[in-house]
Symmetry: C2
Subunit: 302 residues, 2 copies
């Protein structure tokens, strides 16, 4: 029998989900990460093979299993060398099966919009957006934290630090932000932030991204400066969305995933304000692994 | 006889200038840097002593020389440990003479405004502003390139990179900027900027600051995006100035030094637009070493 398999290979785990021709999920499993920048070639192959074996074991009543696979793998982007490495791993792992490789953003987009054409904004530690329109995929943002990642948790955390310095100097009006940051980071003096940045933060992407949680706490207490940071983040994200939505003839569906969206209306409300009227913002419908299945189904359905 | 000595101790050189009671410059010399973060204690002492000896040699007709010194030294700021180290060096170097220690920003301010109260904006690789009002000194900005240094060459260089990514994505309208940056940095593909940033720039403060020269070239050719970067830089610098000018009762004199100002009207014109009407912007009148002399003269004149 024919089965459609979605694989979501991210930085922390590899998720597998198997659907039958009646679109019922008949098997799934989660293994460790197969990210090419985190594990070697042999390990990646072993994880992908193992996942398929587990799915097959769940289907042991069926003696003639045909898998049609879509693997959405982190790292499968613009870098040609990485693409080749991933293609070689998949060739080895999926032989005897038909398959297609996407990057993790494309399957997340398919999942969030349930296979519809549209745009997905991923805003976690970094930020990037993907669009799919009539089989054609584009991206915007996602240049990394050194150059941009506008509206990401890193970007929001950095804005918090900058707002702190501006309030300390009297460039911006003081809100509760300075005292809140000082207490949270255990700074004695305003200027201790300089040594804290040099010795503790050290431009560490993850540590600065975590500071976004402080912005969230402050914004919940209605701190004007924190709300302004979310407003600026929303404006940057709207800019990313509009750069992609220009290609859409009429209305354009947009969804979102990633840690920044946990701030809910704090980021969603200003975003709606900045978005053109042809944009329809939707909560994400299904997880990325389901998006991978959808792509496999639409491509290979018999 | 009494002489007033100005010393400007920066990161690249130490300048000495000696004036008599008739305000005539009677001796000067330039030695290497005595910056406490660049040379050890003994070396710093030897440079400062040597400078005074050279001045004294020029005054050999005078057998009863009294020096009244103002030393404006880089590093003499908020850091208590550094302050102590510098004070100990000066105690050893200037014994038998009356002296006062300032930081290099304060003497630059005194020089630029010829001893008048007001504000000096220093915008080179980094940025900071100092104000002097009735003997009281304040600062704004200058939190370092990780946190701010708004309007500095580093900040302008970073904005260029961000504008490049936004134009590549179609978030901002394309100008000549992308092709100009690609040619200047010898990038083949738009996305080569990512590896250029990771492998060549490596968040190196000096290298990114040098990119400000490209913004200058583009702005001279009337590139809209480059002009917008200068406009944003000017708005940030205006914010720094206003945070200090609030304390001034009426009009407030402001001057400027540092590499960014070589852009002349490209930065000065938008700055004038953003400045309050009580601000009087003046070209810098004298160099920092003259400012140090002025402070010594005003403090110690007999």
């Amino acid at each position: 029998m024919n089965y459609y398999v979605g694989i979501d290979g991210g930085g922390t785990k590899t998720a597998f989900a198997c659907y039958n021709e009646e679109k019922e999920c008949v098997a799934e499993c989660i293994l460790e990460s197969c990210h090419v920048l985190q594990v070697d070639r042999e390990k990646a192959i072993s994880i992908l093979k193992q996942g398929l074996e587990r799915l097959a074991q769940s289907l042991k009543n069926d003696v003639d299993v045909h898998f049609y696979i879509c693997a959405g793998l982190a790292g499968y982007g613009k870098d040609k060398e990485l693409r080749k490495r991933i293609e070689s791993i998949c060739e080895e792992s999926f032989k005897n099966h038909k398959y297609v490789i996407c990057n993790d953003g494309e399957i997340a987009l398919a999942g969030a919009l349930n296979g519809k054409d549209g745009i997905l904004v991923i805003s976690g530690t970094g930020s990037i957006a993907y669009s799919t329109l009539q089989g054609h995929t584009e991206r915007s943002g996602g240049w990394g934290y050194m150059l941009g990642d506008e509206g990401s948790a890193y970007w929001i955390g950095k804005k918090l630090l900058q707002e702190y310095t501006k309030q300390c100097d009297g460039r911006h009006s003081r809100t509760d932000l300075v005292e809140f940051v000082k207490n949270s980071l255990k700074l004695k003096d305003d200027y201790d932030l300089i040594s804290y940045t040099a010795n503790i933060l050290k431009n560490d992407r993850g540590k600065i991204a975590k500071l976004a949680l402080l912005v969230n706490d402050l914004a919940k207490k209605n701190d004007k400066a924190a709300l302004r940071i979310y407003d600026e983040a929303a404006r940057e994200i709207a800019e990313i969305i509009h750069s992609l939505s220009k290609s859409f003839p009429n209305k354009c569906y947009v969804s979102y995933i990633g840690g920044v969206w946990k701030a809910k209306e704090l980021i969603i409300d200003p975003l709606k304000y900045y978005l053109n009227e042809n944009i329809i913002l939707e909560e994400p419908k299904y997880p990325p692994v389901f998006g991978a299945y959808l792509i496999a189904y639409n491509l290979f359905k018999v």
